[in-house]
């Protein structure tokens, strides 16, 4: 909600805006004495303004997200939000370190590598790890796995799920010796059930699916990660019109970013690599970059 909608006098409004306060969230963390100093008004007036602001904010909590999309969010609020978001662990401490805690929600992460290096394995691991319950430091969410290459093997996912549960039991045993109730009730089958698996065979299917995800995610709000295994595989065939390919790809990337931000989930894109011929040497580069 903007300041200009607050039921305060015009001069107060003008002072607020000229001091730099344009949205309610910016008034949320300031004390009345600081506000009085900034606006050059009496402290009682400042307290009044803050009271009105918090009252309006309270009555409009349902529109709170709307205000964050409409108006600008202060960097402080953004930092708060970012810090409060959970990460999805990759089960490797070093990798988590590099990623700053794990795979971040509300962000698109691209992982590329040569064939056989472990991209699909990492994708499956993330799809399993997102289901770690909140008690164990995970998100307790579900996963969408979009397989374009056919490299998803259920038996491997089962193995990884079993190992994850074993890991959690170990953690349970070491740290929560008193809490017998925190027994792991999860079974590998439950973990597999929480992975929504889509197999697509052409780029049109891929585009259609990404468009459909909007609807799917509004019905399944507990999905916390989307893994696309080889986002570029189907686009590497002969696309006669290169401009069309670029448009389609960037459109798809934008949609995924949108989904990530709106539904507060993580998007992980697995990509292949190609060799780039630059001058006299060869370099590995991510495909279709």
């Amino acid at each position: 909600m903007e300041i200009w909608r607050l039921p305060i006098s015009a001069s107060q409004r003008g002072k607020l805006i000229s001091a730099g306060y344009t949205s309610l969230s910016s008034l949320s963390s300031i004390s009345s004495s600081d506000l009085a100093r900034e606006l050059n008004v009496s402290e009682s007036e400042a307290m009044n303004i803050l009271k009105v602001a918090s009252h309006s904010r309270g009555s409009e909590t349902s529109n709170a997200s709307c205000s964050i999309v409409e108006g600008a969010q202060s960097a402080w609020d953004m930092l708060h939000d970012e810090e409060s978001l959970m990460h999805i662990t990759t089960s490797s401490a070093d990798l988590d370190n590099i990623l700053g805690g794990g795979i971040h929600c509300k962000e698109v992460t691209e992982i590329g590598g040569v064939p056989g290096i472990g991209k699909t394995q990492l994708g499956i691991q993330i799809a399993v790890n997102v289901q770690i319950p909140n008690d164990f430091g995970g998100l307790g969410g579900k996963a969408i796995y979009i397989d374009t290459e056919g490299s998803f093997m259920v038996e491997r996912a089962f193995q990884i799920a079993e190992a994850c549960i074993e890991d959690m039991s170990e953690y349970n045993r070491f740290l929560r010796k008193d809490f017998q109730e925190c027994k792991i009730k999860m079974q590998p089958q439950d973990i597999l059930e929480n992975i929504f698996y889509f197999r697509i065979c052409s780029y049109t299917e891929q585009i259609a699916l990404i468009n459909y995800l909007d609807k799917f995610l509004s019905e399944h709000k507990d999905v916390k990660v989307i893994v696309v295994d080889s986002v570029t595989f189907h686009f590497r065939q002969d696309f006669d019109d290169m401009a069309l390919r670029t448009r389609v790809l960037s459109g798809m990337a934008l949609k995924l970013m949108n989904l990530a931000k709106r539904f507060s989930l993580a998007v992980v894109l697995l990509n292949q690599v190609t060799t780039k011929h630059t001058e006299a040497s060869f370099q590995l580069a991510l495909a279709l970059v």
């Binding site: 064939p115 002969d238 060799t275």
Partner: protein, 295 residues
């Protein structure tokens, strides 16, 4: 679009005919995925392909697919005699599955392929072919022996041609995967090797995208067709052969040279696969076929 339920999505496997190899491959060649066998000539690629085409006909309870197979060969001639030989031993060891006058060779459909475009043409005709085969014994295995032969001579070394070659890889692979998904087929592709010159580290290793050092006949090799094709297959197996000295014989006391007994050592490696760890096992090729050796 509805998501598939993972619990019902168990991948079927086609047995290789040898329990030791099956153990290495966690059951055999998986369906709905492309498995590539890389080896230099004379290592046993065609042997494995023929053996699989026969064993695919076994009932599902015995690890087969109860299916016929489509064998596309690019290197002439097709080894009919060897197939016949293998067929005889296959029949004798699995007599209870087949009626008396039955010839398993009847269920292997052979087609020769000349160029990459010819292959694409054939694949567009494969759809109705497999559809029709559902009435008798369905086709559940496609073997392409070898894919490398189609691409190694037709293309010049210019960027335009290489680009066309790469996009052909993706086209063929995508069609094969679509077929594999639609009819739940296992696809087996064989590939050749090229020599790797120079150090394996740094840019040379990266260029080939080959992190694992493959050795055969004492040379360092890497699979043909490069990084683009490597992205198209799901699993890669490597067959190597080496001459190994196992012991000395006829040691003469006056220090003359002695004879070494050399043995051909053949090994099957799993280079990469989404469901297999990196492992290897030794095998030998006999009259009856290709079998793993337990050491």
């Amino acid at each position: 679009m509805t998501p598939q339920s993972l619990l019902q999505l168990t991948s079927q496997k086609c047995t290789t005919g040898c329990p030791i190899l099956d153990r290495l491959l966690y059951g055999g060649i998986p369906c709905d995925s492309i498995t590539e066998i890389v080896a230099e000539s004379g290592s046993g690629k065609t042997q494995i392909c023929l053996q699989l085409s026969l064993h695919a006909q076994l009932p599902v309870s015995h690890g087969g697919l109860a299916a016929s197979s489509l064998y596309l060969h690019t290197e002439f001639p097709f080894p009919f005699r060897r197939l016949h030989q293998l067929c005889l031993s296959f029949r004798s060891s699995n007599a209870h599955h087949f009626p008396v006058n039955d010839n398993p060779c009847d269920r292997i459909f052979v087609q020769s392929v000349h160029t990459a475009d010819h292959l694409l043409e054939i694949m567009s005709k494969t759809d109705p072919f497999i559809e029709n085969s559902k009435n008798q014994v369905p086709v559940r295995l496609i073997v392409i022996d070898s894919i490398a032969a189609l691409f190694r001579s037709d293309f010049d070394n210019t960027p335009v041609e290489l680009k066309r070659r790469s996009s052909l890889f993706f086209k063929i692979s995508s069609k094969l995967k679509a077929l594999a998904k639609r009819f739940n087929l296992a696809v087996l592709v064989t590939n050749q090797v090229v020599d790797l010159v120079g150090p394996n580290e740094g840019i040379n290793g990266l260029r080939i995208g080959n992190l694992v050092c493959l050795h055969t006949s004492g040379r360092r090799v890497c699979p043909a067709l490069g990084l683009a094709w490597a992205n198209c297959v799901n699993s890669r197996l490597f067959l190597s052969r080496n001459e190994e000295v196992i012991r000395e014989e006829n040691e003469k006391s006056n220090g003359q040279s002695c004879d070494f007994v050399k043995k051909k050592m053949r090994k099957l490696y799993v280079v990469f696969a989404p469901h297999l760890p990196e492992s290897s096992c030794e095998f030998e090729i006999t009259r009856e076929g290709l079998f793993g050796v337990e050491r």
